[in-house]
Amino acid sequence: MSKLAITLPGLELTNPIMPASGCFGFGQEYAKFYDLSVLGAIMIKATTEISRFGNPTPRVAETASGMLNAIGLQNPGLEHVLEHELKWLEQYDVPIIANVAGSEVEDYVHVAREISKAPNVHALELNISCPNVKCGGIAFGTDPVVAGELTRAVKDVSTVPVYVKLSPNVSNIVAIAKAVEAAGADGITMINTLLGMRLDEKTGKPLLANRTGGLSGPAIKPVALRMIYEVYPHVNIPIIGMGGVQNIQDVIDFMSVGAQAVAVGTANFVDPFICPKLIEELPEELDRLGLDSISELVGRAHR
């Protein structure tokens, strides 16, 4: 399996496949289906300082080849995540990427400082792009200056490498990527969800209680590929790609445009075994392409 191994800042991955944040909880549920140690890494659900209930329901709505969600960063809060979820995950031999969220810079800084100390947290994923929280969140992700400042503040306190998760709801994704790189980001993860809406056919009103939600799934894959393709030549830090991955061809595509690793979100809901399946299929796919290691795949669309 060593042809699948890849090294990223803070992360020695046995393979490049990992569940995306918010689509895998803290792992407990999927542990009923397979051994989590097979995963390249796990991106856990966004953690905030204080526990959050999130948004009222309905929180999900289906759209053409996609879904909207407005969970609203529901999580049990930093302390609980440290003492229970991360502790529980220690039984598995898998690096954790902790998704960090907040409303103010101070929130991010506090969570980042504390959660980066957990022994199995090997990297942070700075969620500057969640479209479903009222204050903070989205604003951080759309302004390069603000995004840079937040990145720097978190870098200052984190004991592990920091990846910044970019929002696709921007005019110029390259500008944001360059700003967070300049501010010290060790890597980029992209993309988060596109902001969307669905109406309830019966009432003519927004179906989600939060009105808008984040669009994920195969529908957004073309946007994700385009953005990674755009950012890749302009940064020297690695990209973890995501957005609509549901089969091995998608993995190949994301790496081809420049992702060094690939996260799987919505597809976990469709097929709980999707991550181990992709990991199993990848070596064969590399053989078919005549490649000796996944690193040869990265960025080939540009060559």
Partner: protein
């Protein structure tokens, strides 16, 4: 253990207006223990529609490894499901969730099973198990209209069965609570499944009697990971449960 995989359709027919009964066969049936559990079904091989659909288990035959679902064609997912023919396979994840506690009613006791519309199906397996435990069951089943009624005969074989319809085209005109109010004495325990307003009305009408309610909520994963299906509890203060993995059946009084 939760199973996931292909199951083969062995029987499939329309049993009322837009209501289909589908029986499938496969290994997962061995794990189906509790009436009120559900399965999460993928209705297409590609991304349209994307998400699985939750459908209750209506009856289980552990010997033949078959189980039956009853569902209403409501949107594009259930419509695609309705096009499956015998011999086709469907991708079934389940059994999921926690069903009705059969043992909450003791031998010789009397239980009411109160169902509304497509909330009726899981009560069927429940009624079978209760009666085989020597529990007396009375069914109060509410539908919109005569054309929507199903399984009346099947339930009648297990106990007294009352039908209500909103438009009065069959049985008692009104809601299940209309009929409940007419019945002489309350049961020892009740079980209910249906739309949320009905569940809350039933809960209120039977305050003081132990009861178990099965809730619906829009779902993502169906296994507890995505936080799509949360319901605040009466505890308040942000306390919640997940319908898919903590439920769908909850004791009366839990869900706010």
């Amino acid at each position: 253990m939760i199973g996931s995989g292909k199951m083969e359709v062995v029987k499939h027919k329309e049993i009322a207006h837009n209501i289909y009964e589908m029986t499938v066969i496969g290994q997962q049936v061995a794990q189906m223990k509790s009436p009120g559990q559900f399965v999460h079904i993928r209705v297409s091989d590609h991304s349209e529609p994307l998400l699985r659909r939750p459908i209750s288990i209506a009856s289980i035959d552990s010997e033949t490894l078959e189980f039956t679902m009853i569902y209403r064609v409501d949107g594009r997912g259930t419509e695609l499901l309705s096009q499956k023919r015998s011999g086709d396979t469907i991708d079934v994840l389940g059994p999921l969730g926690n069903g009705f506690p059969v043992s909450a009613a003791e031998t010789g006791q009397h239980a009411w099973l109160i169902g509304g519309g497509i909330g009726v199906p899981p009560l069927y397996e429940l009624a079978k198990r209760l009666t085989s435990n020597g529990v007396k069951v009375t069914m109060i089943l509410g539908f919109q209209s005569a054309q929507d009624v199903f399984y009346e005969e099947a339930f009648k074989e297990l106990g007294e069965t009352f039908i209500t319809t909103v438009d009065g085209t069959y049985g008692t005109q009104g809601f299940v609570t209309t009929k409940m109010n007419e019945l002489p004495e309350p049961p020892n325990v009740y079980y209910s499944c249906g739309p949320k307003p009905m569940l809350h009305a039933v809960e209120k009408a039977l305050k003081g009697t132990p009861g178990y309610l099965s809730f619906e909520q829009r779902m993502g994963c169906g296994i507890g990971a995505c936080f799509a299906c949360v319901c605040p509890t009466t505890e308040g203060d942000g306390a919640y449960v997940k319908v898919c993995s903590d439920g769908p059946v909850f004791q009366a009084g839990v869900i706010a």
